[in-house]
Amino acid sequence: MRHDDLPRVMEALKPPIATFVRESRVRIVLLISGSGQVLAQHGFTRSYEVMNVASLAAAAHASAGALAEMSGVPRWKHLHHAGQERQLFLAPIRTPVGELILVAIFDKESSLGIVQLFFEQLGNTIRLLPEFQQRDGALPTAATFERDLEAGLNRVLPEAGEA
């Protein structure tokens, strides 16, 4: 995903993310690309929180992938952590142009089953978006992670540069 594609991609993701938030009743959502670009968010108020969660989600995703591979499991569907008050759901969305990572945090207003259900629908909707149909040849690398993270962050939270 190229830098100049970012505004178009983020605009295209707004409706499906809004639907996901409304239907699944999650409190916080973050959608990042495999290289750490922040593509959409809901519920965050501070840029450093987005940055921290994006970095940790990318790391957790990579760790879980490595663990799955070591265990002979080629792919994993989602990670779920049930806390006392809040629960964390982290899952990859596979698209023709690469993998996205969704992080959702929910409380008693929702449930794992509901989040899973609407996550499936979100994935199907995103895969059908024209922005996720073609590969442009610019594969993400570790070196682009920080630059992409900053670029995405500046767009979802304009005050990010001042934080």
Binding site: A82, K108, S110, S111, L112, G113, I114, Q116, L117
Partner: protein
Amino acid sequence: MSDILSQSVDRLSRVSGVLGAMVVEADAGVPVVAEMTAGVDSGPVAALASSLFRRTANAATTAGFGAVRTMQLEADHGHVIVAGAGELLVVVVAERNAQLGLVRLEASRAAEALA
């Protein structure tokens, strides 16, 4: 415990007109044991039925009616019946012409056995 769950679901599934039955973890809304006829996806039904039951229970409590024991949803082509069993729910999907009295009775019995 898993034997009791399986037996409950198996017994419910054999009632005339029942398309499927399952035991669902109430808070998570995910199936624990399920027997569904082809074409009925247990995951979405479990998620939505448990969410609906939870909200109905909240409404009943707010209205001062106490705990909800069973919930019955009637649609154009069938019924969904949910019976509370503590941390579990018994969810039954039945055809429109199913013997609802028997289905409800069996669902309640299963819930009592699991609670």
